[in-house]
Amino acid sequence: MTTLTLAKSLNEGMRKAMEDDPKVLVMGEDVGKLGGVFRVTDGLQKDFGEERVIDTPLAESGIIGTAIGLALRGYRPVCEIQFDGFVFPAADQIITQLAKMPLRSLGALKLPVVVRIPCGGGIGAVEHHSESPEAYFTHTAGLRVVACSNPVDAYTMIQQAIRCDDPVVFFEPKRRYWEKAEVDTSAADGWLPFDRARIVRPGTDVTLLAYGPMVKTCLEAAAAAEEDGRSLEVVDLRSLNPLDAATVTDSVRRTGRCLVVHEAPVFGGFGAELAARITEECFYSLEAPVLRVGGPSTPYPPSRLEEHYLPDLDRVLDAVDRAFAF
């Protein structure tokens, strides 16, 4: 066991993957000498060389497009998009090519490309540096979409994503990069499959569904609610596509109430999919409608307003109250 930050866990996970498989490459803007703006790739170029840890020209479409080509030639590129708001120049390559090429080849081609995206707000950044674009990608068939929330999962999930033969969009909660935990870096298997959700806090009254940065917020809310005698169950979805629906519906059937919490705008957000599905599958178990807690349906605001935009403990507890009021 070692104490690692989430950023360092990702770094160690990538390092392990690169040691295990010489075909694994890391590519992106400033990932080499600088180690990425969040230092997630720190030291990798020094240890694996410039052929495997590639500082690319400043062009996201180029990063993903060439990663596809490298994958066609048998490599497993792990691409870093510097900030969530800069994935959009690569959207064409991701949506029209990466997601669909394997199908067009009737399964002959595999594209094991990982697209790492630091996501979410809370770090006081300027615009385009605090986005939560997951719904664009969960809406695109052919992509697996996952989000880690803590150092332990970061270490295992990044390796599982790299080993996966499908393209994976991998969200990293940037404001949690510096959170620490004890991580076992000796085990190489026995891990929870990366398309499975995890109940991170069992409870009996309400199910909170979250992923990425909001898992911690929900755990804090659950701790606070306990003082009021309410038992909240927190489920870390981990994988958004595919969704671990069994874990979700099982939890909701037990508790009878459900909140979905994400930073992204509520309108047309991933929570809408969850709410609809739970309504379809757990209708007779529900004591209240599935409630969504998320960002307003506006662009991410200037940083001095972000505390109002981002769901926090109070907003979650307010929704818990509303769920009980039905």
Partner: protein
């Protein structure tokens, strides 16, 4: 360029320079400039004042008053030279680092701070100053500039009283698809646009070699318009070359690429640590080419300014710095409900609904407070 035989022996020097780092005036066969002592003193003043505003902003960031700041240190001549070449009718599209150009366009420096302080995403009306909002997504603005120039073209605003458009971007930006597409559009439509690339040698931690194997100005020829490299630390040369390029654009001769060869003397932004990727010697070498020192030397040597003048400018700079600081600190945080403002130009049901719900939610806290 040794490999380029077609340019012949008497080809002009690759770098257009009119003022050496030592403050000597030199001639260039294609570009010249005739400045009155008053104008040179004015340029000097601009350079000193924008550097001072920039230093103040860095200090404000260090003290937690700004979230981040992108310093223009070292790029003052490129920005003041090109910025002063613009007429009122010309339009400029900046990146996030064009504080010097903003100064030339009459944007109050305090208004630049809003975005970096996190109180707004912009902070000025682009039409009021013919200076567009800062653009953070690398390269996007190049296409906007070309489109704007196509509009100018369709308005028939050509000739002496016409309007040219200038767009700023960095060396790293030249790799973006948008920038290359903007070159194509400008070329095909003969748009009255000037591409002003500040090659400050670095894109965060990546040196120019990561973006290009040839000097950037030479990219233009492949797209079918002229390109020129100018000493970006020479305010005279930047002014002369940009003035000519804008004039050509206004007169219907189409686009031009200017590569201002300069250096980012500071960190990429206040969040960056350049000691991780570049050596101090490089900075020391560029310090000898400082854009302000050479104008000072020129003024001094030619007795166009005395010590009293330099002292007066320094005092003015200090006053400006203090003023910017004072007004930065006085900038109010926006109201929480401002999140819902200006998202749409027309009334929008969802905004109304969410604004009302959020107001009610906030009011809940207030009544909780007062009932305590």
């Amino acid at each position: 360029m040794t490999a380029d035989a077609s340019r012949g022996a008497q080809a002009p020097p690759e770098l257009v320079q009119l003022l050496t780092p030592e403050g000597e005036r030199v001639e260039h066969p294609d570009y010249d400039i005739d400045l009155t002592p008053e104008e040179v003193r004015g340029l000097y003043r601009d350079l000193v004042l924008v550097r001072r505003v920039d230093l103040e902003a860095v200090a404000l960031q260090r003290q937690g008053e700004l979230g981040i700041w992108a310093s223009l240190l070292g790029q003052e001549a490129a920005q003041i030279g090109s910025g002063r070449a613009l007429t009122d009718a010309d339009m400029a599209f900046p990146t996030y680092r064009e504080h010097g150009v903003a100064w030339c366009r009459g944007v109050d420096p305090v208004n630049l701070l809003g975005l970096f302080r996190g109180v707004n995403h912009g902070g000025w009306d682009p039409a009021e100053h013919n200076f567009h909002l800062y653009t953070i997504v690398i390269g996007s603005q190049t296409l906007h500039a070309v489109g704007y120039a196509m509009g100018v073209q369709r308005d028939g605003a050509v000739g002496e009283d016409g309007a040219a458009t200038i767009v700023y971007f960095g060396d790293g930006a030249t790799s973006q698809g948008d920038v290359n597409e903007s070159f194509i559009w400008a070329s095909v439509f003969n748009a009255p646009v000037v591409f002003f690339c500040q090659n400050n040698q670095w894109a965060i931690s990546e040196p120019l070699e990561k973006q290009s194997r040839i000097p950037l100005y030479r990219r233009a020829s492949g797209f079918g318009f002229p390109g020129v490299r100018v000493d970006g630390n020479d305010v005279f040369a930047c002014l002369a070359v940009t003035r000519q390029a804008l004039k050509n654009a206004r007169e219907g001769q189409g686009p031009m690429l200017i590569e201002a060869f300069t250096y980012r003397m500071g960190a990429h932004t206040t969040s960056d640590d350049p000691t991780r990727y570049r050596v101090q010697d490089e900075l020391e070498a560029w310090k000898l080419k400082d854009p302000i020192e050479r104008v000072r030397a020129y003024l001094f040597k030619n007795q166009l300014a005395d010590q009293a003048f330099f002292d007066k400018i320094d005092a003015e700079a200090d006053e400006l710095g203090r003023d910017v600081r004072r007004r930065c600190l006085a900038m109010p945080d926006p109201e929480p409900l401002a999140i819902f403002d200006h998202v749409y130009a027309e009334p929008h049901r969802l905004m109304d609904e969410e604004r009302a719900a959020f107001a009610a939610y906030l009011a809940g806290f207030e009544s909780e407070e007062s009932s305590r």
